[in-house]
């Protein structure tokens, strides 16, 4: 009942087929050149938009976060192997200001020395409290959620707070060190 399929006869004469194939190749080449020109146009537009967005971003920073009140919080990893960062929640004076869920790509970048700008905002001069909630998986396959609180004094001028996350063997308990860049 399940015999082999009969071979189909050639429905197009070889000569005509040759012409068709040549036509198809020419059409394909035309399509490729059109596609590449479209890609080139997209690349050029991308360059223009990147430059433009950078200018808008600079203006935005200048207007939204004036130098005297600006506070920026950065996150970096001291040891990539020790912790697999899942997410970070950030609170300033007990108010949630940002939360970030890390992708594999972002984790990899942090592991290679990348620094994530977690938050940028404005604060008045004086004493403030920063609370970071770290969710991560430690190298010993244990999920950890830790709250880290840091008190700081905001003075006139931009304040940059760099949080560096680390975990040491054997218990891989997350530790955060803070550096204040003025």
């Amino acid at each position: 009942m399940f015999g082999r399929q009969k071979p189909q006869k050639c429905r197009i004469a070889p000569g005509i087929r040759g012409l068709c194939i040549s036509g198809m190749i020419i059409a394909a080449m035309a399509a490729t050149s059109h596609a590449s020109s479209l890609d080139e146009q997209i690349e050029r537009l991308n360059a223009d938009i990147t430059r433009h967005t950078a200018s808008v971003h600079a203006l935005e920073q200048k207007l939204l976060h004036p130098v005297n009140t600006r506070v920026a919080v950065f996150l970096s990893l001291a040891n990539r192997q020790a912790l697999e960062l899942d997410s970070v929640e950030l609170f300033v004076n007990e108010q949630p200001v940002t939360a970030h869920l890390y992708t594999e790509n972002e984790r990899s970048s942090l592991g290679q020395g990348g620094v994530h700008q977690l938050f940028i905002g404005n604060l008045v001069d004086g004493r403030h409290t920063l609370k970071a909630v770290i969710n991560a998986r430690a190298a010993n396959n244990r999920f950890v959620r830790r709250e880290i609180v840091h008190d700081f004094r905001k003075q006139p001028g931009t304040l940059r707070l760099q949080m560096t996350l680390n975990a040491k063997a054997p218990d891989y308990e997350p530790e955060v060190s803070f550096v204040e860049w003025k």
Partner: protein, 550 residues
């Protein structure tokens, strides 16, 4: 709406604060160089280059030139990026990475000789993954040119892991295509499996192993080595894109060994997947075949009739999909709508594979050129969204600046500073008087400190007065800048939309061709089942005739 409102409030407050600070000087946007390097690296790795273009000149350290070149590449300035990478390659750090980037750029431009040269340099000067990628690049270049032996030699120098596994898988595909005997391809696939097993990224390793086992199973089946085929196919996980095809081939191998009941169990499982996946339509036909070979012609007929109904239904689905592509565009009909928003995250993995639309999207993405076409539209959509956000922000800034200039036009700050100047002068007089009366050294020291503080306050007030005098010009300048940017945003948005239309047309053509091909596949499957049903009826009629004659 809330987001926009809060943005407006935030902006207004920020703008007011900026006014009081005298509109930040250029130093305000600067960042410490040591931080800037890390921030730029993170932005480049995560595809957010536009937010850090301004930091390019702030980079320092041994990675600065390399990151600058990457920034050029990410912002579409290929010529500058090439020059930058060449400079880095001639330097002391990141030589391997720079050579690899140059090799990839050359390969994209079709310059195979240049690409080979740079890959060789990357292999020579790089470390770790850079060397692995360079060796894979060299192997792929050799393979593309038909030099499979040379490709094998490069692959042999690679360390165990994902990249080597991918190289051997591609080599196996070439062997399977060129050889009459599948042994060379199977050996390559076995090596690839051993390499993939060493990959530290478990999900990536699992996905690749599924694909390798499926390919090996298919080749073993073609060589009529059914036990080996079953062994490979049973290793494919049950939650993978390759599962339905593996189940179908598994059933085929079992059936070839005469185990029709077990074969039908595999096909029955394959039938649970949408017809869009490879192997599923064949599994529907296989069920009838299984019943027929097991001696149940009635059940076989029912199975084929059920398969017919399923194919008919799928043709209707495909017809509707085609109509939607024509009406709404392929990007919306196939890509955006496949992302069901109602799926809970903990169900998403299991349910996505059973959704026809997702199945068609996955299948479509396997077509040559489909990924490039979808990426083009997605990139342009992203650009339009970025421009929309910029436009919105700029409009808010302009509105707030215009409002502030109108209210500040009536003055108000000058009388306050005049009062402060008077207060400063009074305090200075009182302090001078006290200095003359100071008796003890402690009093002298304290008064000296007070005098310094007062002098500092005086200097700050002088600076403030200067800023107030310059403020209208500064505000006017910022406002002009914002207006010019808004106009530029509009022009760029128009260009982006025009290119998006062209890219969407190309994607639509590809998607419609794909749907047409799938419809033809369904028609062909329908023909096959109808043929089986006709044969079955013919056989039953002849049986009846035979019985009648007896």
């Amino acid at each position: 709406m809330n987001g926009r409102m809060s943005l407006f409030l935030r902006t207004s407050i920020g703008v007011m604060a900026a006014m009081l600070a005298g509109v930040a000087a250029p130093v305000a946007t600067a960042m410490d160089n040591s931080l800037a390097t890390g921030v730029v690296r993170f932005a480049l790795d995560t595809g957010e280059a536009s937010s850090v273009v301004g930091l390019a000149m702030k980079l320092e350290g041994e990675s600065a030139d390399y990151l600058q070149a990457r920034l050029m590449l990410a912002s579409g300035q290929h010529d500058k990026a090439r020059a930058g990478f060449e400079g880095v390659f001639n330097g002391a750090s990141h030589r391997g990475e720079a050579a690899l980037a140059l090799a990839e750029m050359a390969q994209e431009e079709g310059d195979l000789t240049g690409a080979e040269n740079w890959y060789q340099q990357a292999r020579r000067t790089g470390y770790g993954e850079v060397v692995q990628k360079a060796l894979l690049g060299l192997a792929e270049l050799a393979r593309i040119q038909g030099k499979t032996d040379a490709a094998g030699q490069y692959l042999a120098r690679m360390e165990d892991g994902y990249w080597a596994a991918v190289g051997y898988m591609n080599l196996a595909a070439d062997f399977a295509r060129d050889d009459l005997d599948s042994s060379r391809a199977l050996v390559s696939l076995r090596v690839a499996m051993a390499m993939a097993a060493k990959d530290t990224d478990t999900s990536r390793s699992r996905a690749l192993l599924d694909q390798l086992n499926l390919r090996a199973g298919y080749l073993a089946l073609g060589s009529e080595d059914y036990a080996k085929a079953i062994d490979f196919l049973e290793k494919v996980s049950l939650e993978s894109y390759h599962t339905p095809q593996a189940l179908y081939l598994h059933g085929l191998a079992l059936s070839s060994k005469g185990n029709h009941r077990a074969a039908m169990q595999s096909w029955h499982r394959a039938k649970k997947f949408p017809l869009a996946f490879p192997g599923v339509s064949d599994a529907w036909i296989g069920m009838g075949r299984g019943y027929d070979l097991s001696g149940y012609p009635g059940q076989a007929g029912e199975s084929w009739l059920a398969a017919n109904a399923a194919y008919e239904g799928e043709r209707v689905t495909l017809g509707k999909l085609s109509e939607r592509i024509t009406a709404e565009g392929a990007y919306k009909a196939l890509v955006q709508d496949a992302r069901s928003e109602d799926i809970q995250w903990f169900l998403a993995d299991n349910r996505t594979l059973t959704q026809p639309r997702m199945a068609y999207l996955l299948r479509f993405m396997e077509e040559p050129g489909a990924q490039v076409a979808v990426r083009r539209v997605a990139r342009l959509d992203e650009m339009v969204a970025t421009l929309d956000a910029s436009k919105n922000n700029l409009e808010v800034f302009i509105q707030a600046l215009e409002g502030f200039m109108a209210s500040a036009g009536s003055g108000g700050v000058a009388p306050q500073t005049a009062g402060l100047e008077q207060q400063q002068s009074d305090l200075e007089s009182r302090l001078n008087g006290l200095v003359e009366q100071a008796a003890t050294p402690a009093q002298v020291t304290e008064l000296r400190q007070l005098k310094q503080s007062l002098a500092g306050a005086g200097r700050r007030m002088g600076a403030l007065n200067e800023q107030i005098l310059q403020r209208p010009e500064r505000l006017e300048k910022v406002l002009d800048e914002a207006r010019a940017m808004r106009d530029a945003t509009k022009d760029l948005r128009y260009k982006a939309l025009s290119l998006r239309e062209q890219a969407a047309r190309k994607l639509d053509a590809l998607a419609l061709a794909f749907v047409k091909k799938q419809t033809q596949h369904m028609t062909h499957a329908l023909d096959k089942t109808e043929q089986q049903i006709a044969h079955l009826y013919e056989y039953l009629a002849l049986e009846n005739l035979g019985e009648g004659a007896q």
